[in-house]
Symmetry: C2
Subunit: 452 residues, 2 copies
């Protein structure tokens, strides 16, 4: 039996899949916070190149991938699909488990799939510099790599607590040639406002987004780039699922269940949307489960409402499951999942009952990650362990019910630059955390005021 | 054009190549330090399983790889061969550059190729636990992974300075289930002797080897395992070069020059020996260049003599290029290259003029590593940057001479767990270091006394 199902470079998909075309209820439009009217391309033009704005609002089912992007994808794509035979043996349940492994990319996660595309369109439209935020560092590393490929400058605003706790990530970005600033910084008004209130602020993704947007809005040579949440970002990630579909076909299989962690939604969308297409267009039976940390439970305990994507309120209002743009998640190690909202596309699909969501505590996730490492030899990123924990839950359920299941999950990245998280887990320093209903509702008045 | 040349799992070589069969001058035998007579299998039996001892002294050209080992190799093999087109563009020289990338393995380097084989034979012969040493941590991680696959216990003696400086490596080993001890430790006589003289000893590979051997020699359930230097270890690595040969064939090319760093010799042997076979048996024109750090220059400035492999003098005497078993290399970041001796096979080939050696200072290596990262997207391990620096030298020479060259090098591992090294480089904390002739000769009387 083959352990890996590999494809050739000629099998790299030539189109991104836009799920908007097949959704029964189209996503609601982003709104201008002042007028509460849908934002137009001209509102976004200071921040994004026009081609990405077009992709953001496109309803075309497929969008061609330029050759220049394909050439860079070839550096690591197609990524392998593994049969988790050793992990299956450990679980001893009636399940076949496959995982798509995105850790083979230059930055070690799925993020370069969109970083390369975004850098390409910026370069093509004459942009000199891209500003962005990063939490745990996966996105900042990916964009740093992509900018190096196209000769673009890259400024990364890195959440202060991660900047201090994950020095290796910062060095990786520097090695690719990027500038990295701890956020909140005194380079922006948004940062200075926060530092005035709290000089020792540990920062947050929401704050770092505000800083990067502010820089981009002020400098005509600089644009802004986001690593998740937006429609075009999720669409770029669909090459993962399209490859996986072909690989599953070669394996003679089709998943009953697809599992992926959800921070903003790009990893989940990447693996699941191309399979969901069959459910949306042909009624194919398929469960897609987004897994979030119990300490940041926007999908399972948040509200579907219009909210800002950032703390300062620079972004348009987006219709999404949210905990409020001022929500402060617990300080878990899965930094990529510590975001208050979910992408518009994933939120609408969840609202319509087309996908499911589960919240899991971090101790269960790390236990799953260690078991997986011993069996399969790959140390998963803390974010990725959330998907693995859910795989174990589904395997146990299949065993209890005595049903055969085929599970596919996206191993979105390795944890080699996050080993402090595992050390803390082994040292007993990690704890589970649940918010009370009162705590989760504290920021709701802010959100309610934003509704159209 | 394809960026990567990939093989199928069915292309994984089914045999290891034993260069001893084709060497014009066979390697001299290892000697018992007391009798100065060749050691026999019974001398080594307390330390190694019999099958590995047989492989160590075999003169068969090929040795079959058991199916159980192939099944584990499939987790990451065949590894990709890349055309370094972006790096070529940067160098602007008349060279075609290919690199075999071993960083795709579970531990991020070529080391699992032999770790899996050694764990397999130990398991098969009823061993319960393997003790080993590790410097920078690549080898310890690889053996930890391999032991997890076979349900063996694994005790790793990690050089103290690396134990303190590279905490992520320790956690990786723990995650695979291994026990990691800082060396010198008070668990062995060898360790206690050193600590008595110097309670703050930073340790060395030679000391850590002594500790692991001592543990293995005393416990019938425990054997010892070495990650480089020995004949069977080098032989296991020849799957790298055998795959690369097939991949170069698919590319329609054959190398003029093969380059790899040399610490003990397994990485260099792995990529070069299957190609050297053509030179040894058909006279094919080929330069194979082993690259060492200028701060540990055994190949370029050491002596070809009998010497111990470890500090305490527990190993047999090996005929090799050495700086003396008490030599203390400068504290460079390429920990895997900080070893006083070179493998018997590589030493004999160098002595016979069949391979070449170059020494390079670390600043030139890191400069090469950063340039390579920006072009090719992979951050090389500090060890691997030595090979890249030599590739640049050869490219410049080809340009000066106006000759076309095809260069193949082994990118033996990624540097994601060594980012502190890059940080120190960017911070200007790294310096070049050369030993004077007097310093290099200080340990020679010790070696001279060991000659038969």
């Amino acid at each position: 039996m083959n352990k890996k199902i590999m494809l050739n470079e000629s099998d790299i998909p030539r189109q991104w899949y836009n799920i908007t075309a097949d959704m029964p209820n189209k996503p609601l439009p982003p709104l201008h916070p002042g007028t509460k009217q849908p934002v137009g391309p001209q509102d976004l033009a200071p921040l994004f190149p026009m081609e990405l704005i077009k992709q953001e609002v496109s309803t075309e089912r497929y969008i061609e991938i330029p050759d220049e992007i394909i050439e860079i994808y070839k550096m690591w794509r197609p990524s392998p699909l593994y049969r988790a035979d050793k992990f299956e043996k450990l679980l001893d349940a009636p399940v076949k488990i496959y995982y798509k492994y995105e850790g083979v990319s230059p930055s070690g996660s799925h993020k370069p799939n969109t970083a390369v595309a975004q850098a390409y369109y910026n370069k093509k439209e004459g942009v000199k510099r891209i500003a962005t935020e990063t939490g745990a560092g996966q996105w900042g590393t990916a964009l740093s790599f992509a900018c190096a490929q196209f000769g673009l400058e890259c400024d990364v605003y890195m959440v202060r607590i991660s900047y201090d706790q994950k020095p290796y990530r910062k060095v990786m970005m520097n090695t690719f040639g990027a500038n990295v600033y701890a956020s909140p910084s005194n380079r922006t008004q948004a940062g200075r406002n926060i530092l005035e209130q709290d000089p020792n602020s540990p920062g947050s993704l929401g704050i770092a987004i505000s800083e990067a947007i502010e820089i981009a809005a002020q400098d005509p040579d600089t644009k802004y780039s986001l690593g998740s949440v937006l429609n075009h970002v999720l669409m770029h990630q669909t090459i993962i699922g399209q490859e996986a579909e072909k690989q599953m076909e070669y394996a003679g299989d089709f998943p009953d269940i697809i599992i992926a962690p959800l921070g903003g939604g790009s990893n989940f969308a990447g693996i699941s949307f191309p399979f969901l297409k069959h459910k949306l267009t042909n009624g194919t039976k398929l469960r897609c489960i987004a897994v979030e940390p119990a300490s940041c439970p926007k999908l399972t305990r948040g509200k579907f409402m219009y909210d800002f994507g950032d703390t300062a309120g620079y972004t348009p209002l987006l219709p999404m499951y949210t905990l409020g743009h001022n929500f402060k998640p617990a300080a878990i190690h899965a930094g990529g999942l510590r975001y208050h909202g979910a992408s518009v596309l994933c939120s609408q699909l969840l609202k319509d009952g087309l996908i499911e969501a589960q919240a899991i505590q971090q101790l269960e996730c790390f236990e799953a990650g260690v078991a997986f490492t011993k069996a399969e030899g790959i140390i998963p990123a803390p974010e990725a362990t959330h998907g693995i924990a859910q795989v174990i839950r589904e395997a146990r359920r299949a065993k209890e019910e005595g049903t055969q299941k085929t599970i596919l999950f996206n191993l979105c990245g390795h944890g080699l630059v996050d080993m402090q998280a595992y050390q803390d887990y082994f040292d007993g320093k990690l704890h589970d955390h649940s918010f009370s209903d009162e705590e989760l509702q504290a920021d709701l008045p802010n959100i309610a005021a934003l509704q159209p």
